[in-house]
Symmetry: C2
Subunit: 335 residues, 2 copies
């Protein structure tokens, strides 16, 4: 660490009703805190931008306590240890963890999620991090894909969805992606190997799903919880599994949105619908990363990254995700 | 079988939009058909009246093909074999099965669900039949009750619900029933051993559920799919299981009813919601009946029957169920 290094921090300054916009954040400059015994200082190289941040900012019931006003925005980051007061971690090591949107994080080692490497520092935030491991563990633990089954994925070209589609294919499934716009439809088929893709902006999702899945949908992996799901649910097969992995169709749950009731579909189809949050499965992270790394090496799993440059990009980065402007995993690169 | 016995049959004569009313059925008189080789003739003693009949009559997608116009109303029945052309079944034996709302059924033995006895002929339609086995198998296979967990049951005093509450209690759970009116609330607590009961007609279900389940609801066993569920869902505990066993709040699904979206609850609580249909579990029927019989003998499981008399009661019996006029399992007694 350079002496007197300046730490730029992206702070949450307003609690928005929906998705945080650029003006809900402010960037300040402070000195890097000295590590206390047991702590480390991480120089962040990459900052993650995730749809789930909407929930971390909201002050309603959620996975975790909300980010406080005036606090550094919570995020997964990937960086290099530049100072260490902990014998378990050496200066120079690469780690990912909950370091927040800032240049330097002086933190306890319980903020570390995993060790990584210079080569994988960026992937460790996407395909080898939250997104890839969520895709793999949600699909396999909840949906139990079997060869020959039909899997429909919403946000099919996104960081999680694109991995789900490819992992389902690796498990021998037929995969149908749902995405928005011709460019993403093309990505789904050409890049991510979906057997077909539906453009929800241009096509009747229900009619196309019925046409593409004449024997019904065995697995619906959903990240939307809105009109797209409503169109998919009537086409579930008997004993279908619906993975509820995200609710991107809504940027707020106050007032609580309504939609067609799912109970009758679940009953008539003896189907199962279940929520997945990665934090419940941290004990399987290493195993999941190993599998993903193997498929990447074999050329069976690919991914897109949407790289923004410089910490100044952070404040608007989340709002941009909800505007759908990214192609693939959004990451802010600092150095 | 008496020579020239007359068979009174309750035929479906109209396909109603919602719940079939008395005028949607007609009773005719015909002669009893002679059994073909392999067939038997059953003299029905008891006819079952079940909420699920609404679905069997509707011509929309369902568990099974709809009852045809002019056909005898499909139902589970309990009776005695009065003629047999099948060596596997002797005259005098008691059986339950899909014999329909009529005095005599001349049927193939694949219509038989189980052998029973004179002593259990009536129970075999309720607590030892569809209702009790549904309660036991739905609760244990989907919800996996554990000692100390909190179980909320809708239609808590009904034929299925009352068994669910008691079986959950036998599994060491705390049980909260939701039912309508002071008489059923009293039954829940005094007869079926619920720790507490909520009167949805008089009380704020959500507020009471929050009060009675301060640590959240581990298992919600639902037979309603309407406003009661909407009030319960926000109070699920982490890793909750929601058993979708019926949709009694709606007597039609055209137009499809809307309600508050469940996805966010399932995601934030990592909860599971799953439909249960007994017909998928027929291989476990005998085991389930054995367990239920044991608990009845030990005085740990009780039940209510709502006995109607004579086949003339059939046409209005289903509509009456949906009017909520029964206390316990509705059965039509013929002899």
């Amino acid at each position: 660490m350079k002496p007197d290094a300046i730490n730029r921090r992206v702070l949450l300054v307003n609690r928005p009703a929906g998705v945080a916009q650029a003006h809900d954040f402010a960037i300040d400059h402070s000195t890097v805190l000295e590590p206390a015994p047991g702590e480390i200082v991480v120089r962040n190289h990459y900052l993650s931008v995730d749809p789930a941040m909407r929930g971390w900012i909201a002050d309603t019931g959620n996975y975790s306590a909300p980010v406080a006003i005036g606090e550094v925005m919570r995020s997964l980051c990937s960086g290099q240890i530049v100072a260490s007061c902990n014998p378990a971690y050496a200066v120079g090591e690469y780690v990912t963890g909950w370091f927040g949107w800032q240049d330097y994080a002086t933190v306890s080692i319980d903020r570390i999620v995993q060790r990584t490497s210079a080569a994988e520092a960026k992937m460790a935030l996407g395909i080898l991090g939250l997104n890839g491991t969520t895709a793999l563990l949600a699909l396999t633990t909840i949906a139990e894909p079997k060869p020959g089954q039909t899997v429909v994925v919403s946000t099919a070209a996104g960081a999680v969805g694109s991995a789900v589609g490819q992992i389902a294919r690796i498990h021998g499934c037929r995969t149908i992606g749902i995405t928005g716009g011709p460019a993403k439809v093309r990505d789904c088929v050409e890049l991510f190997g979906y057997d077909a893709a539906i453009d929800y902006r241009a096509e009747d999702v229900g009619a196309r799903a019925a046409e593409l899945c004449p024997d019904g949908i065995d697995i619906y992996f959903d990240n939307t919880a809105g009109a797209i799901s409503d169109a998919v649910m009537p086409h579930l097969a008997q004993k279908a599994r619906v993975v509820v992995c995200g609710t991107a169709s809504y940027d707020r749950w106050e007032p609580w949105p309504e939609g067609p009731r799912v109970e009758r579909h679940l009953l008539v189809k003896r189907a199962r619908m279940e929520g997945f949050v990665l934090f419940d499965h941290m004990d399987r992270l290493e195993e999941a990363v190993g599998a993903l790394r193997g498929w990447i090496a074999e050329g069976r799993l690919t991914f897109q990254e949407d790289l923004l440059s410089g910490i100044e990009a952070c404040p608007d980065a989340l709002a941009g995700l909800y505007r759908g402007e990214n192609r693939g995993k959004r990451i802010v690169q600092l150095i």
